[in-house]
């Protein structure tokens, strides 16, 4: 009698323990996981801030201490040797800069007017206005037209080998169906970008003979020449690019202006050198 009562008594706490532990397991696991995720998110934020601070410090380090640092003429001598026997179009010399900007800052954009351009800048103009069309043609636009151009592009008859496109506001409605064709190529005229204006003369003057550039994921890459260009021509182009990039950093809408980090010069098949920019 005694024994059985003991067993009943001992069972009770055991079963309650089991239930309790089970309940505890279910309830705590989710809480534990949630806490972990919160911590790692905070840590991620901290890590990102740390990485950005490190990038800012690295960008400010003097480039002359880098083992790949070279003056431009020596770098060009190497690049010309590396590109020996390649066709001119397959050996472009490019200058790339690390851009360290604030989180969420817009990409660095602008236009460079090269003393020795790599290729002719072809401008496309959409307008129904005869006066504006005349102005565009006089300023050197490659192709000027209205509705008939829109139709040609829709049907895929017109090869879009243009670098820039402009339009007058009267064409806005007709251009809307072309957004998917022109947009990815950066050729869609837009009032916000300044490529749609009633007075084309003012916008075209700054556009013909200039090359646009845009920062892509922290890197700004600009083609400055071909291996057939002389040293002086390439250095002049690099100076023009440097000036344009520095102007772009001052006009950007950001709390702090972005820092131009180390700059590299390279060619299609050649090695890379750090240079002063």
């Amino acid at each position: 009698m005694n024994k059985s009562s003991i067993s009943i008594l001992s069972l009770k706490p055991l079963s309650s323990n089991l239930l309790g532990s089970r309940g505890a397991k279910f309830s705590t696991s989710s809480i534990a996981l949630a806490k972990k995720a919160q911590v790692s998110r905070d840590q991620l934020k901290k890590n990102a801030a740390k990485a950005l601070a490190k990038k800012r410090v690295e960008a400010k380090l003097p480039v002359a201490n880098d083992p790949l640092y070279s003056d431009i003429s020596t770098a060009l001598r190497y690049l010309r040797s590396a590109e020996v026997g390649r066709s001119e179009t397959a050996s472009t010399i490019t200058v790339s800069s690390n851009i360290v900007g604030d989180k969420g800052a817009p990409p660095l954009t602008g236009a460079i007017s090269f003393p020795k351009p790599l290729k002719e800048v072809r401008v496309l103009v959409f307008t129904e206005d005869a006066v504006q069309a005349k102005v565009a043609q006089d300023l050197g636009a490659a192709l000027v037209g209205g509705q008939e151009l829109v139709e040609q592009i829709k049907e895929g008859k017109l090869g879009l080998n243009f670098n820039k496109a402009f339009a007058t506001p009267d064409m806005q409605g007709q251009l809307a169906p072309l957004a998917r064709t022109l947009g990815p190529k950066g050729l869609m005229p837009n009032a916000k970008k300044g490529t749609m204006a009633t007075d084309l003369e003012s916008v075209l003057k700054g556009a013909v003979g200039t090359m646009p550039f845009k920062q892509k994921s922290g890197l700004l890459s600009i083609a400055v020449g071909r291996t057939s260009f002389s040293d002086v021509e390439i250095i002049k182009n690099i100076m023009a690019a440097s000036e344009a990039v520095k102007t772009a950093t001052t006009t950007i809408k950001s709390k702090r202006p972005p820092i131009i980090g180390h700059t590299t010069i390279t060619s299609t098949n050649g090695p890379a050198f750090k240079i002063d920019f």
Partner: protein, 162 residues
């Protein structure tokens, strides 16, 4: 820049100005006005050596002879090459197509692999490079052009002179 990329870059730079094989560090005589290489894009018919010569030695030769124009013409006969790969045996014997392919292959085998060296006054010399290894081509090229090795103190050492 990561350490791996920087090392790779330095290796590439040093392979141009001071490669381990010093034989390509040569100065060509000023009488030479142009050096042209002609070969196929595909390696077959003994065209591999000259392609390797272009890849391994020509950048160094160009580095020490900056003002000398050097051209490379790579001949593409893709259609014939792919047909050749497919093989004549797959075609019916004595068919028009088989005959044409055979003649095309013969034509392809005739494609030269050569270096043309032009001198002042319009004279030019050719160096046949078919079925030759790149080192042999370099040796023969140095001999033919009477090129002289660059003095040890004139060899450009990247990172030391700046």
């Amino acid at each position: 820049m990561s350490a791996g990329r920087a090392t790779r870059n330095l290796t590439h730079i040093l392979s141009i100005s001071s490669p381990s094989n010093k034989a390509s560090i040569i100065k060509l005589p000023p009488l030479i006005t142009d050096v042209s290489l002609t070969f196929k894009k595909k390696n077959s018919d003994g065209h591999m050596g000259i392609r390797k010569f272009w890849q391994n030695y020509l950048p160094t030769i160009k580095f020490y002879n900056q003002s000398l124009p050097m051209n490379v013409t790579r001949i593409t006969l893709n259609e014939i090459d792919t047909k050749k790969a497919r093989g004549v045996k797959d075609l019916p014997v004595d068919s028009e197509e088989a005959k044409k392919l055979e003649s095309d292959i013969k034509l392809l085998a005739k494609c030269p692999a050569k270096i043309t060296i032009s001198y002042q006054g319009g004279k030019s010399v050719e160096l046949d490079c078919k079925w030759k290894r790149s080192e042999i081509i370099l040796e023969e090229f140095t001999k033919l052009t009477k090129a002289v090795p660059v003095a040890e103190e004139e060899i450009f050492k990247f990172g030391e002179s700046q």
